[in-house]
Every structure is written in structure tokens, then in C-alpha cells.
Symmetry: C2
Subunit: 204 residues, 2 copies
Amino acid sequence: MERHENTEQEILRAAEQEFLEKGFAGAKIMSIAQRAGVNHAMIHYYFRTKENLFNRLFEEKIRLLTTNLYPALANTEQPLIERIKNTISSHFDFIAENHNLPRLVVNEIISNPKRRKIFRQKIQFAIKTLKPALQTELDQLADNRQIQHIKAEDLILDVVSLNLAIFILFPLIEGVFADDNKTFLEHRKEENIKVILSRLNYKI
Amino acid sequence: MERHENTEQEILRAAEQEFLEKGFAGAKIMSIAQRAGVNHAMIHYYFRTKENLFNRLFEEKIRLLTTNLYPALANTEQPLIERIKNTISSHFDFIAENHNLPRLVVNEIISNPKRRKIFRQKIQFAIKTLKPALQTELDQLADNRQIQHIKAEDLILDVVSLNLAIFILFPLIEGVFADDNKTFLEHRKEENIKVILSRLNYKI
DNA sequence: CTTTGTATTAACAAAATTGTTAAACATACA
DNA sequence: TGTATGTTTAACAATTTTGTTAATACAAAG
């Protein structure tokens, strides 16, 4: 009998891979078991159902996603423009490290109204705590003619859109625009920052 | 025995809905049959397998996607900036009318290496026919100080990213930023144009 | 009005997937 | 040592999903 150091963790690790690649419907208990190197009964032993296992992972990931935009923006030591640059950069890096996560979240939220409702509330909360202060700062800079006026929500959506899309598109365009993926992504990160700063019309 | 006007078309219509909503793995023959109001054996009668039915629809959709960016850009009557505005706008509208299509294409291309290869070749071809002329025009305007210098491929990716992402994100943020979806999307379309024109640093 | 080919249905079969269980096993600890 | 506890396995069962077929209805052509 093969004893694992920690079967439960192995299963979670394997399941995370499988779900991220194939989504809930495409993932198969047998395939997860194989990846984890365990008998598929173990998955039922530890998690009872496929849905259980999925929910456990999914909720953890949602937490990750919904708390990611704050930190770089909140650090009020630096001037806003610097913080925006850092936010774009760290948001980009976060998605790079979790490049399948947005796709999974979108897919599973669309196919599950209950999850959708919960998620929207989290987003709503995140926006509510982010927007007012950001808008105030943006308005101040705009009044000083340092940037062009913009609604905080548009800025947020512009950033998220640019960063997100490049990773969603990546499997479709890998190798089309550049041979070296790492260089390509680094370049796109800079481009995204450039786009946002242009939108703000920031001088120097 | 219930006779349909055109069973095959009914099945295709229903299958399109189902696949767009749930993806290949999530779609069920029985559910498609129900939507089409036919016995599920009819699906096998007309298309033999689920995969057949899927491929038939998928290839048609790929054709749509890969030919969508051209027309508004190609019309060399107008000045480039106008054509770019129109391209953004019509690309946006196209995705609006096919808001589930990008998600489906990305998902199924990721889970199928053969499809991925074919698609990349199509993209590669589309880029090859689009990029040189566009780059020449962009360089000319940049030399005349009418716009900031930009690589054609970055411009294309910026446009596609902004337009795509808002519809991929839409199910997650519906109702968060605005009550009226139509107004929200119209506003985002304008914002995307504004972002791109700012990036080009176009005066007036 | 019969023949012929296509369309439809229900019932069945096969395959894939998820879930269950009883028995074997490992380990710690009395 | 033996026994209690949690872990693992293989075999099985249930369910879901896909695919097949034989019987039959229907419409059009001869």
C-alpha cells in the first residue's frame, strides 16, 4: 500500500491544475486522481463529491482575486501616478502567475447564478472601498491640470481589461508576435502602463 | 409524430446556444435536443457525434472571428484616425453581438492542440495581411508628429484587449458600475476609443 | 395505391463518470 | 502484543451521457 506524505494536499494540488485547465465540467475525478497519484476513491474519502472539492478551491481563489487590486494603490506614501504604475505592474504580475484563473472564474460564474451573486457582492464591496478615495485624488490632479479627468471606475476597468486580456489571448497568439514569450509579456506590461498613462495624459 | 420545418437548423440553433453558454464539455446532447424540441436521436441522425456537431459550428465561428478586424481598417478612403475609430467601434459592436464567442474560442482552443495550431495559422495570416500597410501609415503620421510612435501589433492588441475584456468581464460586473447595461456599454465603447486615441496622442 | 426514401420515435446498449463499500493495511499507543 | 484509528485499495454500484437500432410514420414519385 503506497502511503503518501499528505494525500489531501496532493489531491488539492492536482485538482487545482485540472480545474484551472479544463473547468468544472471538463475536469474528471479519475484524471485528478491520476495527477495526484492516488486511488480515485481517496478523493471521495477526503472531499465526498467533485463539487465539494471544487468549491473548496474556488472560494480560496476568489479571495485571492478580489483582494489583489488594493495593496499597491493604498500605500499613500507615494504620489498617485507612481502608485498607479505599481498597481498595473503588480496586477499584471499577479495574473501572470495565475494566468488560467480569470478564465476559470468567468466560466464558472457564468454557469452558476449562486456563485455569480456572491462574487458580485465581493466586487461591489471592493469597488466601494477603493473608488471614493481614488476619485478624490484623480479629481485633485485633474484640477491641477496634471492629468486629464477620468472616472475612477473607468480607470480601474481600463487597467484590468488591458492586463487581463493579454493573458486570455495569450494561448491564441503565442508565438505570433514574438518568439520569446517572456520578452513579449514584459513588453506588453510596459505597453499597458504606457496606455494608461497616456489616457491620464500625464506629462513626463 | 411531430414534424419540424427544418430539424437540422433547429438543432444547429440550439447547439450554438448550448455550446456558447456551457462550452464543449458542459454542453449535453440531451439538453441541446430539449432546446431544439426534438428527440435526441435526431442529433445523432444528422450529425452522428457531439464532436461533429461542435466542429461544424466552431469552424464557422472561427471564420467570423478571424475576418472581423479587416474591413473597417482597409477602406483607404478615410484618414487613418477615422478608420481606427470606426474599427474600434465596429469591433466592439461585433463582440457585443457575439459576447460569448471569445470565451468559447479561448476555452476550446486551450483544450485542443490541433485547433490551436489551425487557429494560430489563421491569426498569423490575418496579421501578415494587416500589419505592413498599417505600420507604414502609422510611421508616416508619427514622422509628421501627428501621433506618437507605436508598433502596429501593439495598437491591434490594445484595441482587441479593451474591447474583448469588457465583455468577458461583463457577467462579473453587471450592475456594479451602472444600472443600465446598454448605457454602460455605450460609455465603455467611447472610453475605449478615447484610450486608444490618447495612446496615439492624437491632437484634436 | 404501392413503392421508395427520408424523418421520427422509443427502447435499448455502451461507455464514461461519479460515488460507495468492505476488507486490507499502517500506525500509534495502551 | 494487540487493539483502536484513520488510510488505502479494489471491486462494485449508480448515474449520466452518448450512441444505436428497429419499428414506424410520412410524403412524394411512379
